[in-house]
Symmetry: C2
Subunit: 356 residues, 2 copies
């Protein structure tokens, strides 16, 4: 299977939904993908099983505050410089590109990067959603040493980090990102296909396409999407309060939705750190990270990203289960509520919404 | 010639004088040098002419705020990790270590790093003094592309930067340094001996030893030092005001000296950014960067570093000419007063002090 330009709108829509508010710049990523496909041709989508064991898979993502990356045009030279550095280090070029993060722009833009490099895209990612920090990837949870990060910025600088662990990779990569103008392209863990097995979440590009297509031509897009995701509807209402600040390369803040229609009188607050992390109603948690919480336009069911939240928007909040990997002890330690500073024991969204 | 542990006190004293207040941690650097010599033996001091043209010279320095590095113990693993990365990139190990900055701890500590790596120390450096920023080195002024920086921190992380120019190398290295706890070991420009010719300041280790020995056994250490340096005495007095703050990896501030004895009634203010940059008396500049300005103890003639300035100290301020390289247009553009934000046209210290 290949990805052509007609697939990009659905892919973008699906990635936005899986982005849980984060991984901004989906529109910019889509334009880059379409432009690259027009110039270099369709991008083959391959599975791990298709690759030789020693083939190099390079997980790529843009790192930065969404309010910045939203405005950024990705240069063609950034993936090329990373590929050059990969070849310099490993003595052979990348065999495939993988999205580190299927949620948001980082799910779409790798199509452009793969096209520019003339390599296939792997049908997998490292999150099955979006997360704000570098070490919050399946490779880390799977216990692969976080021993190599390659970054390339729009100015043309290339930085290679050999961190001692995942937390240092986040700390150093974030510092480089901020110094580079709060946006950079990053390869985190260069993997052989053999090492990638069991350490990446497979099938997520196909999943994003599928989610994106769910609403196409639907008479009730919201219900079609909810059904395809297996999501619970937390509230339908309007945005009455949005508070955001960009600090240290992150967007942090809260958003409050007041119920309308059947939900009149209810009030849901979302805690944000690039992504939607916790949904609270009347002091009770309704869903929490690593489960997925996405704000969608009530009419079109298009995802509304953190940087696009606006007073008065008519929205619905959906929540659904994360990949099983994130519910393991190491998964929760890495990206559970406490990893984000919330003093909460993780409870799966199915249980929280069953009570509601 | 070799450097043995008996040379270290004189080397340290000389480096402190050439440090113009900066490059802190001379005592820590000396202890590290002595310990390393005891463990690994004397360190051969070589000249560029002694090395084959393709021998790799690795200029090393600690980067960070002196108030931090003062407290830091350099680990043995930091130079080893940089040497490993050099070998990984160039396919051969370093042939010699060079001090990037002869002034302060960065002039002494390379003795330890050379001993630990079992390679000679080159009798040269990249400044002939100390400067606060990464791109303020002779290699940059000589027009060598600032295309490689390797950093290694106490935690064990290694970061390789391929910057597009010297200003980016400073910006990215500084960000990594701050993220790594405001201290790291850094190789800036890995040079072949051929490329180093004309791009480094030769003879500066010998010079530092010579300056350090000038006061040994002297009846008037201050006069002996002034004479050896060819320095002007700007003022003798006591420190009445010291203002310092550590910000973004730098120490910035001012120090005021009020004259005593023959200088009673006079008052000199020093502007600091890690190093002493400008000396002002009655609104008139008496000396300015890149010329060297050092505060010394009036009695012992030992240099007083920025982080050791204390109210009431009896000090003398000396100023003398920098290496001719810094007086070229590119040298002044890189490290003249305007490079530090002072709206001053450079006037050599000889002219300024002749007027006085």
């Amino acid at each position: 299977m290949s990805i052509d330009e007609n697939d990009i709108p659905a892919l973008a829509r699906g990635c936005a939904v899986l982005g849980t508010g984060g991984g901004g710049g989906v529109r910019t990523g889509s334009l880059a993908a379409i432009r690259a496909i027009r110039e270099y041709g369709e991008v083959p989508l391959v599975e791990l099983a298709d690759l030789p064991g020693d083939a190099l898979v390079v997980p790529l993502s843009g790192i930065g505050a969404p309010t910045v990356s939203h405005e950024m045009i990705h240069g063609e030279d950034e993936p090329k410089r990373i590929a050059e550095e990969v070849e310099r280090i490993f003595g052979r070029p990348p065999s495939a590109i993988m999205s580190s993060e299927i949620g948001g722009a980082n799910g779409v833009a790798p199509v452009a990067w793969a096209a520019q490099l003339g390599v296939p895209l792997l049908d997998a990612d490292g999150m099955g959603r979006a997360f704000p920090e570098v070490q919050m990837v399946s490779m880390y949870v799977a216990g692969l040493p976080a021993d190599l990060v390659i970054m390339s910025d729009v100015a043309g600088n290339v930085v290679t980090i050999r961190p001692i662990d995942g937390l240092w990779s986040e700390r150093l990569a974030r510092a480089v990102c901020v110094a580079a103008g709060s946006h950079a392209l990053m390869a985190d863990y260069v993997l052989t296909a053999d090492r990638a097995r069991g350490a990446v979440i497979e099938g997520t590009v196909t999943r994003a396409l599928d989610v994106g297509r769910a609403t196409e031509g639907a008479t009730d897009p919201l219900e079609a999407l909810r059904d395809r995701l297996g999501a619970a509807r937390l509230i339908t209402g309007k945005l009455t309060d949005v508070e955001r600040r960009t600090t240290g390369g992150f967007v942090r803040g809260t958003a409050t939705i007041e119920g309308t229609g059947d939900d009149r009188g209810r009030r849901l607050t979302l805690e944000l750190q690039n992504e939607n992390l916790v949904a609270i109603e009347d002091g009770r948690v309704r869903a929490m990270v690593p489960d997925l919480i996405t704000v969608v336009d009530t009419e079109t069911a298009d995802a509304v990203q953190t940087e696009s939240l606006r007073y008065g928007q008519r929205v619905t909040v959906l929540a659904w289960p994360c990949d099983a990997l994130w519910r393991t002890p190491k998964g929760l330690e890495t990206a559970g509520p406490r990893a984000f500073g919330y003093d909460l024991d993780y409870v799966p969204v199915e249980e929280l919404t069953a009570h509601g």
